[in-house]
Amino acid sequence: MLSTLKGMLMTLRTSLRKPVTAQYPKEHLPLMERQVGFPALTWDADVSEPYCVGCMVCVRMCPTQCMSGTMIDNPHHAEGKSTRRKIIEEFEINLGRCILCGLCVEVCNFDAIEMSHEHEISHFARNGRRSDLPVLLEMGKKYQSETNWISPAVKKAAIAAEKAAAAPAAEAGETKEDVSAVADETEGEAK
């Protein structure tokens, strides 16, 4: 008898609780900050061109070979507007094949590709998610504006400032090690 009452009390409590289910197409749960969505290309608003220089590191790293691209001489560089000698001309990611592993983002040296928050990619045509450069840049711009995305130049400056702040504080012996560590790092990057 008592256990029945206990059980009913539990049922009553649960029935008065607010439901946790979100009615999906109408409601969306908030996305996590690190949410991995489909990859997108970022846009350098300062010179209005993509960050991507078409080095193809990501294309080679992709486990499913879903990317392709070509590189051309950057017309903006000839005019002196941009520091990039080369720039991406055509780029295509077959998002239908992408497995969202994020390896392309990891190997990119220019922060030109990022995992956006785009995750609803249903399409009517079979190859409808073969996304070309404008589409990917659009996704990237959306991602950049939605999150406080920090451009690589700003990031670099911040790291440099941090190093400069840390260097005087360190003792003489340690500084020596620091320098060699930095040298190691740059050497690694060069490789």
Binding site: R34, Q35, V36, L100, G102, M115, K191
Partner: protein
């Protein structure tokens, strides 16, 4: 002769079983596997080392972190990399959380197999807490691709330790609630006690591992007998069963969740607040030296072995996986002989197989 499967609600994947029956009793059973075969081992030979982690994610899709751990530990061993402490602690915390996550699903489906609907709700409620944490750490709920050879992809969020500590009490309570709900339920006991008994010797002969082996009374856990990573720094018990029946296999996993919580608590205490998360000297695409190596780790399902032969290149020459579920599945046939058809589902469920790694 009855055909069971390939699509059957009690298997996590596609698995077919042909049963020869005499009335309600099973005379013989023949498992048919291969419906989820993707040729992962062969694919590994054509992929660079960092790319292979994505393939391991997809083998045991209920314990992704543990599988990533298996592969990363293998390559780290052959290359002689020492992983920074902080990275190891984060790995262990994530692996143990994933173990709870996987066992929670087992707990739920076990209830379903026995005809109880509520446990899966409880199980998924707890899973959601863990999954949310995983999502905050790696950005994905399933295919994390978060472990790297020599460490981790990136630092976990700043509030990682607090968040883990925050969900632990809720998890502990959830496990106790679930335990109270199902473990000593009269109907559940009647269905599972003395059903599908496997003796310790048989279990060893069939190469069982993990909770299924321990249920038969053999205290063998790779985390203790051959500690990998930093498992030798934690104090935890290995639950051992007495009878080797379906109930024992179920109870082992419930108890293991509690032990996992103990490991996580200790790891949170010992974890350094700051430090590198990736070993120095691992840059670009790793090229392990020529040679071969075999590493075993304990996934929620049992012993996961990775045998790697390297020819010094950026892709493995050969990679062989010893999946726990595949070996555990071999014991199904002797266990099914002589039982009722209705119990077949429960016995299969109690082995907690994941077809993704059985077929690879």
């Amino acid at each position: 002769m009855v055909n069971m499967g390939p699509q059957h609600p009690s298997t996590h994947g596609v698995f077919r079983m042909v049963l020869w029956v005499d009335g309600e009793r099973i005379v013989d059973a023949e498992p048919h596997i291969g419906y989820l075969h993707r040729g992962s081992e062969k694919l590994c030979e054509g992929e660079l080392y960092p790319q292979i982690i994505t393939l391991f994610d997809r083998m045991d899709y209920l314990a992704n972190y543990n599988m990533e751990m298996a592969f990363c530990a293998t390559v780290e061993k052959i290359m002689g990399i020492t992983v920074p402490d902080r990275a190891e602690y984060i790995r262990v915390i994530l692996c143990e959380l994933n173990r709870i996550c996987s066992h929670m699903l087992f707990y739920g489906t076990m209830g379903l197999d026995a005809g109880a609907m509520t446990p899966i709700m409880y199980g998924f409620r707890e899973r959601e807490r863990i999954q949310n944490l995983f999502e905050a750490v790696s950005g994905a709920r399933m295919m994390h691709n978060y472990f790297r050879i020599g460490g981790l992809r990136e630092d976990p969020p700043d509030d990682f330790a607090e968040r883990v500590a925050g969900i632990l009490p809720a998890l502990a309570q959830g496990i106790e609630e679930g335990d109270k709900l199902l473990t000593y339920n009269e109907v559940f006991l009647a269905r599972s006690r003395g059903v599908g008994v496997l003796s310790g010797q048989d279990a060893l002969d069939y190469g069982l591992s993990g909770p299924s082996l321990r249920a038969s009374g053999i205290p063998d856990d790779i985390r203790v007998t051959e500690p990998y990573s930093i498992y030798d720094r934690f104090d935890f018990d290995i639950p051992v069963g007495n009878n080797g029946d379906t109930w024992d296999r179920y109870a082992m996993r419930v108890e293991e969740m509690r032990q996992s919580l103990r490991i996580i608590e200790q790891a949170l205490e010992q974890m350094p607040d700051d430090g590198p998360i990736k070993a120095t000297g691992v840059r670009g695409i790793p090229r392990p030296p020529e040679g071969e190596v075999y590493v075993r780790v304990e996934t929620p399902r049992g012993e996961m072995g990775v045998y790697l032969v390297s020819d010094g290149g950026d892709k493995p020459y050969r990679l062989k996986v010893r999946p726990p579920s595949f070996a555990n599945l071999q014991a199904l046939r002797p266990m099914l002989r002589g039982v009722y058809i209705a119990d077949a589902v429960m016995i299969l469920g109690s082995l907690d197989i994941v077809l993704g790694e059985v077929d690879r």
